[in-house]
Amino acid sequence: MSKDHIIQVEGLSKQYILNRNAAEKSDTLYGNVLGAVKGLRTIGRKKETEEFWALKNVSFEVERGDRVGVIGRNGAGKSTLLKILSRITPPTKGRIEYTGRMASLLEVGTGFHGDLSGRENIYLNGSILGMSKQEIDKKFDEIVAFSEVERFLDTPVKRYSSGMYVRLAFAVAAHLEPEILIVDEVLAVGDAAFQKKCLGKMQDVSTKEGRTILFVSHNMDAVQKLCNKGLLMHKGELLQQGGIDAVISSYISNNALSNGFFEIEKNQIENLSQMGKVLSVSVLNAHNEVSGEIPTGSSWKISIRFVLEKDHDFFVIGYGFQSLFGNPINTSWSSGRPMKRGVYEAVFSNQEIFYTTGQYKIAVGLSNNNHSYFYNDTESFLTISDAGMAYETERIINKDSGLILNQLPVEIREING
């Protein structure tokens, strides 16, 4: 029986040219003329550009009805891959073949205009995603019901809460009917209940209607629930493809190979702020050394370096601790206070609670006046290992013992009946 390939990707590569000396390369004609004149003097010398391969020779096939999770760290090439698949940017080399209609959802609410009403935005956004007027008319009531914003349909969306905005935006996208749907990390927004609803909708679309989905997320829980196949990307290359469980577990063990120091590059809060940012996160062991693995039962610290670009009235730094699947375990934050601009280090110490072995995600966030402007939970990890267990080694500890290993004081007394 011949297999039914809906997408075929062969030798896909994408190159970007980076200007090493950004100051000399200008974005205006005048600047370029000036640069060209200067360049005359440097003829024969090496050009000041650097090649960067965001994707290197990626090949894979997708069968009809597959739900493919694309996973990998930041900079692995996941988003570039989706952008090329959805024809937003052309590949430098390689080719893609697919059959049927393809729609991509790389952002919720593309083209939403704040001054237009919910109703007007449904039509605008729907048509940007490739729906015809008849299709939108037909789906309109369903979209409104899914988004739960009936009462505000004729209100400009700039007056919506961010939750309503996201719900409406996702509702439109969820009612697209392409053969292939490409989704990039859009579920990172919205509250937990709505995320669940969206995942459920995508699952329905795929299993009941046999549509093919390509899904990028850092939320392994969501990936595992939704997908049956996986692609693991690393530095532009396709490391592994196959069943989702196998791919997720290699991703997790890949991440474990860290040295306990993580540079933070991405701010996951969309409207970028110039207030400040987190530079790096380090995991310190009981001897205050940066360490990739913390023995179970040992104390540890999380040290966060950050820069404040502006003076803050009421500054709070928070850190969170999540399972790899994104379930929050603990959150701690500093008490609010005014801070001057500058570079700082905050250290959260854990001495009392002993967590079970495994990998955890570290989330860091900065806020001012209760407004959170920086958040990242994808770039730093904490590994608790069972090597050199520091206490009660005779005790058998395994996953069934639970997440927290601290023993509660127990008293046993005899009751005289």
Binding site: Y16, D27, T28, L29, Y30, N32, K83, S86, R87, I88, T89, P90, S104, L106, E107, T110, G111, H113, D115, L116, E120, Y123, L124, S127, I128, L129, G130, M131, S132, K133, I136
Partner: protein, 266 residues
């Protein structure tokens, strides 16, 4: 691939075309008290100023006729300059759309034409009122007038596509376009007729004057409104119209040559 392949795509995305135009139109006059009246103010001011100047200098014609000539040419010129300007800025202005979703990018400049056309139709009110005031008879040729409106759109669109493409890499475009529009008005038969210009220009400059694609459009439009003598001569008219279509085809070709890599440079 190329322009003909995507013509089919444009048809498939016609809903997007009209919705983008609708968005631009709705957003433009939101929270503006006088609303759509503003579409009349800009052409009206220009017509009053340049109509007055024309009637002072060109005293051979009646004041009403001078105003009518200026008004008809001015409305068409403003249609051109709006289309030219909007098309030039359309790609950069909508980068947030096509960097996240695929659709044929030509839809964006096409949709701006629709908005400019609505403004033009509204501003025609001025011309109608002037016709009534001047008691000017309407000629049969008026049925041909839409052809020259179309020619004006072609001019703005074709030249605009070049600038829209260049704008992706060089933002100098947003400064150059207004300068070109300002200069262009003085070398087009807006304030004075083509005949007026050519009588005063040396012979060797005539062909250069007529390479201006707006010469054909404006002269043709005036011919439709006022009859026979408006077109200077058929050769210069044909030359100008030829340039219009040359810009249209090469503009579209140029746009499609770079369209695919817009996202990487924007």
């Amino acid at each position: 691939m190329g322009s003909f392949f995507s013509l089919k795509e444009v048809v498939r995305y016609k809903t997007l075309l009209s919705n983008l135009a609708r968005r631009d139109f709705l957003v433009r006059y939101k929270q503006a008290f006088a609303g759509i009246i503003w579409a009349l103010v800009k052409p009206l001011v220009s017509i009053l100023v340049f109509g007055y100047i024309a009637s002072k200098i060109n005293s051979g014609e009646s004041t009403a006729r001078n105003f009518l000539y200026v008004a008809s040419a001015m409305l068409l010129w403003q249609l051109f300059s709006n289309v030219f300007n909007e098309v030039s800025n359309s790609i950069v202005g909508n980068a947030n759309l096509f960097s996240k979703v695929y659709f044929p990018k030509i839809i964006i400049p096409l949709s701006t034409i629709l908005v400019c056309l609505v403004d033009f139709v509204i501003s025609l009110l001025i011309l109608i009122v002037l016709f009534i005031i001047a008691g000017e008879p309407v000629h049969w040729q008026i049925v041909l007038a839409p052809l020259f409106v179309l020619l004006t759109l072609i001019n703005g669109f074709g030249i605009g596509l070049y600038f829209a493409t260049i704008n992706v890499k060089y933002r100098d475009v947003k400064f150059i376009v207004p300068v070109l529009v300002q200069f262009g008005m003085y070398v087009s038969p807006v304030i004075f007729s083509t005949a007026y210009y050519l009588e005063r220009l040396p012979q060797w400059l005539h062909w250069l004057f007529c390479l201006n694609p707006m010469v054909g459009a404006i002269d043709g439009f005036k011919y439709c409104l006022f009859g026979g003598e408006a077109i200077y001569n058929p050769q210069t008219f044909a030359l100008s119209v030829g340039v219009s279509f040359l810009f249209l085809f090469t503009g579209i070709k140029y746009f499609f040559k770079f369209e695919r890599s817009f996202v990487d440079y924007i």
